[in-house]
């Protein structure tokens, strides 16, 4: 044994190394299982999957791409949060600052926006694939329901983020998108049966969403908190359930 190999052995045998890595790297079935089950990130997977489930033509990798888009928006979003203030006076100026002065500011903003759009498309394709393979059928009915909730959360994430640049595009898109809330039966001040609940322009479903009768600085702060804290947290909770269910039930496939 050379000096180098001896040194390597002593490192691997040390208490520090052993405390971090619990299995070797030899390609044995045992190590392959441990590589997944002994790793907090990889153990989102089952340690074995059915052969067809790995194929791209079965999954299209769309669920994974959706999650990847979520991760990209989280990373780029945190970068943007360092330079953006959700205050009506500053928000738009901060966008310009991000574009022209911050290192990689424009790149981060572009990636954040395009990943958000791509996430909506990927969720939609994922759903299409799951329908095509009938993967919502027993015992996976509930995970489909969780998936529909995640679709709605994805749309809400994208929609709340739409307002934050505080330009003409964002406030009018959000105005149009939220006008529906004012027509909610019973709860909207222009909806049917409004006279039974006594709602008005500053006290109805849309005002609750906006934090006031019209879109304004209060709406910007409200959407910012929804976009950066509340909806991502809720989405994460549902993602945990979604992934855990896949791990428990395994990938769908024809019975043998």
């Amino acid at each position: 044994m050379s000096k180098w190999d001896e040194f390597k052995e002593s490192i691997i045998a040390s208490q520090v190394w052993q405390s971090m890595f619990r299995h070797g790297y030899d390609d044995t079935p045992r190590n392959r299982v441990l590589a997944v089950s002994g790793n907090v990130w990889l153990h989102l997977h089952p340690s074995k999957v059915r052969r067809h489930g790995v194929r791209l033509k079965f999954t299209w990798c769309m669920g994974g791409i959706t999650f990847l888009m979520f991760l990209i928006t989280v990373v780029t979003g945190i970068y943007l949060m360092f330079y953006y203030r959700p205050v009506a006076e500053y928000a738009y100026a901060d966008m310009k600052y991000l574009e022209f002065d911050m290192p990689f500011g424009m790149l981060m903003r572009n990636m954040h926006r395009w990943a958000a759009h791509a996430m909506v498309i990927a969720v939609w394709l994922h759903m299409f694939r799951v329908f095509m393979t009938g993967s919502y059928k027993p015992p996976r009915e509930f995970n489909w329901v969780v998936g529909v909730v995640l679709l709605v959360l994805t749309l809400l994430l994208s929609f709340t983020g739409y307002l934050l640049p505080w330009d003409q595009l964002s406030i009018w898109a959000v105005t149009v998108g939220s006008n529906m809330a004012r027509a909610t039966p019973l709860l909207g001040h222009e909806g049917p049966f409004r006279e039974f609940t006594g709602v008005n322009a500053v006290y109805d479903a849309r005002a609750f969403l906006f934090g006031g009768g019209e879109i304004g600085p209060h709406t910007l702060l409200r959407f910012y908190i929804l976009h950066c804290i509340f909806i991502p947290l809720v989405t994460t909770l549902f993602l945990i359930v979604h992934f855990w269910r896949i791990r428990r039930d395994g990938l769908s496939g024809p019975s043998l």
């Binding site: 997944v36 074995k48 999957v49 393979t133 009915e141 994208s158 640049p165 330009d167 595009l169 909610t184």
Partner: protein, 277 residues
Amino acid sequence: MAEPKVLTEVGRAPAQLTPAKRVEQTIRKAKGPGDDKIHTWPHLVRAEFLCTLIVVAGMLIWSLLVDAPLEEPAAPTRTPNPSKAPWYFLGLQEILVYFDPWHAGVVLPSFIIVGLMVLPFIDINPKGNGYYTYAERKWELLTFFVGFHILWIVLIVIGTFIRGPGWNWFWPWDPWDNHKVVAMTAVDLPYLFGLRDYWASAAFGLAVVVGYFVIGTLALYWAIVRVKGKEFMQRWGQPRFQLTAFLFLNMWAVVFKMILRLGFNVKYIMVTPWINV
């Protein structure tokens, strides 16, 4: 130790193979339930890793080439014409042409979400679980195609590319004329049938809407019994059938209302002091 004389497909004895290949060999020979499983590490993790690399590289290149839009600062007193919602909501905004806001913006989206959620519970066909098939799930796939693809995508495409100032219809080759004159000639269905009295019109409209759902449900019942048989209908049960029929008819109602509006200039089918449909 004497190795058993098993030759693999590459023509070498297992002992001569690399350890990785040896693990693969035992899996490949496996037969029977649960035996077609392969290890997540490396097979699935490798596929995911490659997919991640390719997609992140693609996103990076796209983001370097195409800038995200930023218009002039928000001005609450200057409304752009047209004002459009984000593209994924333009299907709903387009439905606003055909239905009142409470219907297009609140009721129909709720039906879409609820309809998607109950899907696994109303589809009791045990076939097609975990593999692609058309023959075994013809009706489910066709219905899904109409709602998810044709209706949803067509509405988004119309809202995104065809609608211009005043939410008027502009073909892609038409210039956007802010002063385009569009005659407001749409009338309500009872008016079209010669009814002029207010309450008679409301009663007629109500009859048409209720009739649509009652006759539609009966027709669907008859059609399903004919195609799938009485035995299937018994297994399916009334709650599942009623729910499916209700959602199915609502989906087609959007199509019918679009045809009535675009083809026959009909605004409402039912007009009452509280709600219009």
